[in-house]
Amino acid sequence: METYGQSHTPNQLHSPPGWTLYVSHHDQSVHRLAVFVHGFNGRAVSSWLDFQEAGADREWWQETDLLFIGYDSLKENISGVANRIRRELPKFFPLPFAAAMSVDGIRARKDIESRYDELVVIGHSLGGLIVRKALYDAAMKWDEDGRPSPTPALLTAKVRLFSPASAGFQAAGFLGSLRALSIWQAVEVFLRRASAYSDLQPGSAILTETRHRTEMLAKDQGFGALRARIVWANPDNVVIVERYDTDFVDESWDGTTHASVCKPKRGIFEKPLDFVETGFAT
């Protein structure tokens, strides 16, 4: 079987800036796209490196192109990032992003044209909230447009969230952001009263609005993607542990922290891999 170092190659994209596509070299069948959205203080790729490494020997991961969404959690607001995902994702799914699949006529794998048949969207912490916002906006827009065919890619996704910040910071004020960020990042976020600071204060407008709209839409047929599958860290001292009424029943993993809950280790802690693959956290 292929080794991890040979199974995928990262292609840092010029556009959208900060996004990286890990292109699979698997020659049998690459039929899935997994999209990763990091959280506070996260980085596009390094926040999720453990998934690539722990999953290297699993066929599921070899048959998957991995798209890592980069954004600046200290500056950008939640709506801006969510809207970008909603706007750009159709370039990556269901057809593979052609510009990343070959260079100088050299192809990443034999088949770079076939459609993917599955989209999995994974979010951690603030990334979970961003995913939720992108999902409900996609649903509302599609509904406004009279639900034309085909269904927007996001609304076909299987959604997995690790300790999402859907209910905001556990501690209020500067202390709350300090627990989620490094000291220097927390200082910056506080001084500029950035989205990551103000929007994540419990009861903020965006938290309330996201919950209300998601719960309203998720009951509708065709919007099943809005029902998230969630696993929480236990203990989690960064975000409030609270799911929406329309989410699937959630799970918690004892002995994990807000950061480590999405850090699988091959042979030691593979539950995050299973959760992403199947949606089941037990």
Binding site: G5, V103, W184, F190, L191
Partner: protein, 312 residues
């Protein structure tokens, strides 16, 4: 599998090396000569002299120096990558010659790379393609514009530019001390983040544990005045940060909780660096002044390479 390696090699050439070479070829020869001198000194720790040079250095020189650093670092990554089977054999040579093919003005980069080649670091026998990809991914993520700006200011900026930027940071520290619910417009804060989150990796000990040590990743063993001044100011800012609150009447227990959180998070980074800095202040070297051509610079470097200690 050979197609995979060819794909990666081609990808590096088009996405990384070609833009670097193209950017460098856009500078005047004079600027490049000075920049090459700055970058060469840095390897040997002569950057300790930079704050002592009285002249005002034009900004293009420091920007060109940063691109040269990127060039040398990418050549290092390529060499390691080809040795562990991540890129094609001879990838570094092939990519460099292909990138320089239509850029005769910067053909000297090939020789510059050989003379000032980066240290590979403490690679052990188990380091393979998987480890390489991980290390490279970390670097691609962590070398942010803020970090690069900080690095440029600390290592290569002229005295005048450094003073202006550092004084701005000092103003922020004073305001934070005076006003605990201070807020700063995003556009203004943007000018200061190089010294806050941007400077973090310069002082964090994790930086020293990296397997591959390029110029940007090398351990901070030879601090200069700027690094010391910046560290001192950051300690003051961190102290002021314990009192940050939107609520003017924040109670004592909240402040203590904040201070404790910060102390726990901060202990390793600041303490480790300070200890290292205190013991490594003896670097001595000299400034290669008066060079007018690239070839003079390269020759001077060859001569000095033999006699200079390698602080890497």
């Amino acid at each position: 599998m050979s197609d995979v390696l060819a794909f990666r090699t081609a990808l590096h050439r088009t996405n990384v090396m070609a833009p670097i070479v193209s950017a460098l070829s856009g500078y005047d020869d004079g600027v490049l000569v000075e920049a090459a001198g700055l970058v060469s000194f840095q390897k040997y720790g002569t950057h300790t002299l930079l704050p002592q040079t009285p002249e005002s250095i034009a900004m293009p020189r420091s920007h060109a120096a940063m691109i040269l650093v990127a060039f040398l670092d990418e050549m290092t990554w390529l060499r390691i990558g080809e040795s562990v089977g991540y890129y094609e054999d001879m990838a570094a040579t092939k990519i460099l010659s292909a990138s320089l093919e239509d850029k005769p003005r910067v053909a000297w980069l090939s020789e510059f790379d050989q003379v000032t080649a980066n240290p590979v670091g403490n690679l052990n026998v188990k380091f393979g393609a998987q480890d390489f990809q991980r290390e490279l991914a970390l670097v691609r993520d962590e070398v942010t514009p803020n970090l690069l700006r900080c690095f440029r200011l600390v290592e290569y900026a002229g005295a005048e530019e450094w003073k202006v930027e550092f004084d701005l940071l000092r103003v922020l520290e004073g305001l934070m001390e005076a006003e605990h619910s201070l807020s700063v417009p995003p556009s203004s804060l943007e000018a200061l983040t190089w010294g806050l989150s941007g400077a973090g990796l310069l002082y964090e000990s994790d930086w020293e544990r990296r397997v591959v040590r390029t110029r940007l990743l090398r351990p901070v063993r030879i601090p200069n005045e700027r690094r010391r001044d910046l560290l001192s100011l950051r300690v003051s800012i961190a102290d002021s940060a314990t009192r940050l609150s939107e609520d003017q009447g924040v109670d004592g227990s909240r402040r203590i909780a904040t201070a404790l959180d910060m102390a726990v998070r901060n202990r390793e980074g600041v303490a480790t660096w300070a200890a290292v800095a205190a013991t490594r202040l003896t670097a001595e070297s000299e400034f290669l002044g008066g060079l007018t051509t690239i070839s003079e610079g390269l020759e001077a470097l060859r001569l000095r390479q033999r006699g200079w200690p390698d602080y890497e």
